[in-house]
């Protein structure tokens, strides 16, 4: 009885050690985040940003369509008229206020889909932890100057 138990235990340990030995020579899958980058799929939807045209003008025209499309009411836009002498965006209209509440956002990408000028896009930044609730509301400034611009415009 006791010998039987002992042998059984020894076999189990032997099996387990076998697994260990088998993986000893293999490359580990753990990524040393944040010291190492994580591979991200091109269509990953992370923290938003507002894009500009090559000439520096904001793409956003303050049309509020993203706001209308958003299922969680995470976006707040307040539009205003452009000063013809120093416009912020092409045309007559720009966003005076653009706020995006990350605590509400479910990263569905509908805003991106709705935007007629491809201004609002979801980027690849997913490390969005913060200390204060209010810091989760991204202002227009923050959206226009993302810390980590890595945006790919999804073709669809």
């Amino acid at each position: 009885m006791e010998l039987g138990d002992f042998l059984k235990g020894a076999t189990e340990i032997g099996k387990a050690m076998g697994v260990t030995l088998k993986h000893l020579g293999k490359k580990p899958v753990t990524v040393e985040f944040p010291h190492e980058d994580i591979p991200i799929y091109p269509r990953f939807r992370g923290r938003h940003e507002l894009r500009r045209y090559a000439n520096g003008l904001e793409r956003c025209i303050g049309c509020c369509l993203c706001e209308a499309a958003c299922p969680t009411e995470a976006i707040y836009v307040e539009a205003a008229e452009n000063d013809p002498d120093s416009p912020l965006s092409p045309g007559e209209r720009h966003a005076k206020v653009y706020e995006l509440n990350l605590l509400r956002c479910v990263f569905c990408g509908d805003c991106e889909e709705a935007c007629p000028t491809e201004a609002i896009v979801l980027g690849h930044d997913f490390a969005m932890a913060n200390y204060e609730r209010k810091d989760f509301v991204l202002t227009k400034e923050e959206l226009l100057n993302p810390g980590m611009p890595k945006v790919i415009i999804r073709p669809e």
Binding site: I61, G62, C63, C64, L65, A79, E92, T117
Partner: protein, 829 residues
């Protein structure tokens, strides 16, 4: 008109009145035909071809414009065939050829008929590869309206509105073919007082609101049905708000009041609602400075001081001024506070006890209206006596013009100024301020005079018109019947109405938004709620029973007397600004022991107050208002500023009454309305539900009869003609729509429209005094002086100087100083 015709639309039998247009018949049958140029309030033109339908005729089936085609008996119409669909798609594709892809930046987006119809009836894809036509964008055709010629679909609605309703053809089509554009005439901006209505009419975003530009999206605003408070017409409006801010005002249909039109002041001048200077906390003067305090402290202070003053000098040393700008509820609470808690009848409002008014206002606006497909006005002749609807009651002006142009209404004007409506050829009877009685005497004589006289003078013509009319209406305003002369003018008008015969009615039209309601609530020194005279013992007993206390039967001071009198020790001023009206009043307000001002903004009067209480305006609190035809209408709360501690007047007064030992059963505005319905017999049974969103007119029969002041002293003729070498001109004053008042001037975009600080003279007088337009002058009266610039206009009679009330920075009160008639001289500065 009543005979019906039967036709078939899409295999469905439809019976409609003869002469109905096909497009309307289809709408009645619940079948939608897409339109652009057709509009139920405008004459058909048939210029967009969107409404083509198949009609079977003697020569086979044809495509016809349903918006210009009247129905015929046995007509067979189809709106759903393949051919109709092809034509609709082709038409939309054609309209879109030159229409820019502006939807994301266009204020119409989301409520745009072009968007909607393209989605429903359009081809779905575009075949256009050629470049679009370019034209003027964001082009201001007035200070308040922006035109985008690229977006225009050339439907003519704006052009037709200005022609058919305003009778001011200020827009037109220019160029031809592909280049056709809408534009103003000769570079003159659209200045029609109700021009903003073309924004609501435009089926695309070609005409947009400059004041509300980019401030709203139709899908994100809250819409509250309300009424406009800028004048006593009480137009029905819709308040569009978002994030506690009033973003836009548009017209709302009420076929008893404003059709669907509103004036530009009502539409655009609303910046004051969200102005940053709005009073938001009670202020108490401490060490000479107004300091924000808690409500408790402010109310306790007032209660304490009022009790003290009442003990020391008696209740009649305390007075209150209500206002035609605040709700029935607030006015009612104010007079109840004065009559029951303080125990005095010292309560009045501007244009209150000083004006010899009549209790029931206009018979009904609908009797003057000429809707597009409605009957002609019932009134056939209108005599305007000292009212200028174009400046004072713009939508009444619109109804009158329509009545004259399409309803055969005859107009007679008696005014100190040759007002805008004199452009219609009716007799114009001029008088000088103070000369109203004189003119009336002559008019009455002419009416009573023997038969037809050969005399072609305007008095004779007017008399003839009045005598011939079957249903005449005489309308007079507060300017004509103020002060000591007031009762005699009113009696004269009554005499005239009698002399003119059976069908002639006389009506008084107050000017402020709630002028009528203010009277109905008893904000008068000699009248109780329901406009019952103080002497009326039964009315007094009824109210004493309701209020559970006794009411003094001695009349109080009028507005003017309260401000002139030296015996006043304490004054409540709600929604009025007497300090800006007269230098003397401004000084006497400082002499008071206690001045409590309740207002929206820190006015000149509020600066002098011991306590300033922040009030809520008509958009921010529930209330009822009564317009010039006795229609009680509801204005629900539409916006609220979460940071403000302002409260409605009735609520402050309820708390103040409590501090002073009276307990009122008011928990919300609805409970005040309920008590009004008990206190004012004419308002009996009136509830918010009954008012609905179209209001209710109270029955004129339930008003107390006005006692005529008996024998009229027509012998007393004022010596007006007396030449006064020192002050050669008669001062004429009055209301203008775009004045310097706070409720108007806070809308920045409209500054260019405001009446300048000018004195306007007849060219003859200007030449005599050697003055050119724009000369800087000093105007002097015995009371004071004012620096103005000169304007020249033939509208102004010779021998008079026209200076409107409350001009920006130039209060005509400096010359009048509380009086009504002054002579002035104008000298170069």
């Amino acid at each position: 008109m009543t005979d019906n015709v039967t036709l078939t639309i899409n295999e469905k039998e439809v019976s409609v009145p003869a002469r109905t247009l096909l497009v309307d018949a289809a709408r009645m049958a619940g079948i939608e035909i897409p339109v652009f140029c057709s509009h139920p309030k405008l004459d058909p033109v048939g210029c967009c071809r969107m409404c083509l339908v198949e009609v079977d005729g003697p020569r086979g089936t044809a495509m016809m414009a349903s918006c210009t085609m009247p129905v015929g008996d046995g007509m067979v119409v189809r709106t759903n065939t393949e051919q109709v669909q092809t034509v609709q798609e082709a038409n939309l594709a054609f309209i879109l050829l030159n229409h820019p892809l502006d939807c994301p930046i266009c204020d119409k987006g989301g409520e745009c008929p072009l968007q909607d119809q393209t989605m429903r009836f359009g081809p779905g894809i575009s075949q256009l590869i050629e470049p679009k036509r370019l034209a003027k964008k964001h082009y201001d055709i007035s200070d308040t309206i922006v035109l985008d010629q690229e977006r225009c679909v050339l439907c003519w609605r704006c052009i037709r509105y200005l022609e058919e309703w305003e009778d001011k053809p200020q827009l037109g089509l220019f160029e031809r073919g592909n280049e056709t554009i809408v534009d103003i005439q000769d570079g003159r901006p659209v200045d029609a007082k109700t021009g903003g209505n073309i924004i609501d009419l435009c089926p695309v975003g070609a005409l947009t609101n400059r004041v509300s530009r980019f401030a709203y999206r139709p899908w994100e605003i809250e819409r509250t049905p309300s009424v406009c408070m800028h004048c006593s017409v009480g137009c029905n409006v819709r308040l569009d708000s978002r994030t506690h801010q009033l973003r836009r005002i548009v017209g709302r249909e009420n076929m008893q009041v404003n059709d669907q039109w509103i004036c530009d002041k009502g539409r655009f001048a609303h910046a004051w609602v969200n102005d940053e200077n709005r009073l938001a906390a009670p202020l108490l003067r401490k060490n000479g400075k107004l300091t924000p305090v808690q409500w408790n402290e402010a109310l306790a202070y007032i209660a304490d001081r009022i009790t003290g003053i009442k003990e020391k000098y008696g209740a009649d040393s305390i007075g209150a001024i209500g206002s035609g700008k605040i709700s029935n509820e607030s006015n009612y609470a104010l007079q109840r506070f004065m009559r029951t808690v303080v125990g005095t009848n010292n309560i009045d409002h501007r244009d209150g006890g000083e004006v010899a008014a009549l209790p029931t206002g206009l018979p009904a606006l609908a009797e003057l209206m000429k809707p597009q497909y409605g009957p002609d006005p019932q009134v056939d002749t209108v005599l305007l006596f000292g009212v200028d609807p174009s400046e004072e009651l713009p939508i009444l002006d619109l109804h009158l013009k329509r009545g004259i142009l399409r309803g055969g209404v005859k107009l007679i004007i008696a005014h100190a100024r040759k007002i805008e409506l004199t452009r219609y050829d009716g007799p114009y009877l001029a008088y000088l301020p103070g000369g109203e009685s004189l003119l009336l005497d002559r008019l009455i004589q002419a009416v009573q005079g023997p038969g037809m006289s050969e005399d072609e003078s305007s008095i004779q013509t007017a008399a003839k018109l009045l005598k011939e009319s079957e249903n005449a209406l005489i309308v007079y305003g507060p300017m004509a019947a103020r002060g000591d002369d007031g009762p005699s003018v009113r009696d004269g008008l009554e005499q005239l109405a009698q002399a003119a015969g059976e069908g002639t009615r006389l009506a008084y039209a107050g000017l402020d938004g709630n002028a009528q309601g203010c009277r109905d609530m008893g904000v008068l020194p000699d009248r109780l709620p329901g406009q019952f005279p103080l002497e009326d013992a039964s009315a007094r007993t009824r109210l004493e029973g309701l209020w559970g206390c006794s009411i003094s039967s001695s009349p109080g001071y009028t507005y003017k007397q309260m401000l002139d009198s030296q015996e006043m020790r304490a004054l409540f001023v709600n929604g009025a600004n007497p300090a800006a009206e007269s230098p003397d009043w401004s000084a006497s307000l400082e002499e008071l022991e206690l001045l409590v001002v309740t207002d929206l903004l820190p006015t000149e009067t509020a600066q002098k107050a011991n306590v300033v209480l922040p009030a809520l305006g008509w958009a921010e609190s529930d209330g009822t208002y009564t317009n010039l035809e006795r229609r009680v209408q509801r204005a629900p709360k539409a916006v609220s500023d979460p940071k403000s501690r302002a409260a409605p007047d009735w609520m402050m007064l309820t708390h103040l009454a409590k501090q002073m030992g009276a307990s009122w059963p008011f928990s919300d505005a609805r409970s005040v309305t309920a008590e009004i319905a008990r206190a004012v017999p004419a308002y009996a049974g009136l509830t918010w539900e009954a008012l609905g969103d179209q209001g209710l007119q109270w029955d004129a029969g339930s008003a107390p009869a006005t006692e005529s002041s008996g024998g009229r002293t027509s012998e007393r003729m004022p010596e007006l003609a007396a030449d006064n070498a020192e002050f050669p001109l008669n001062l004429v004053t009055g209301t203008v729509l775009y004045d310097g008042g706070t409720l108007f001037s806070l809308t920045d975009q409209m500054h260019g429209m405001a009446h300048g600080a000018t004195v306007t003279l007849n060219p003859v007088d200007a030449a005599e005094f050697g003055l050119d337009p724009g000369s800087a002058v000093t105007v002097q009266s015995e009371q004071g002086q004012l620096d103005l610039t000169v304007g020249i206009d033939v509208q102004v009679q010779t021998g008079t100087a026209w200076i409107p009330e409350s001009l920006p920075g130039a209060p005509v009160g400096a010359l009048l100083n509380g009086s009504y008639i002054q002579r002035v001289k104008v000298e170069k500065r």
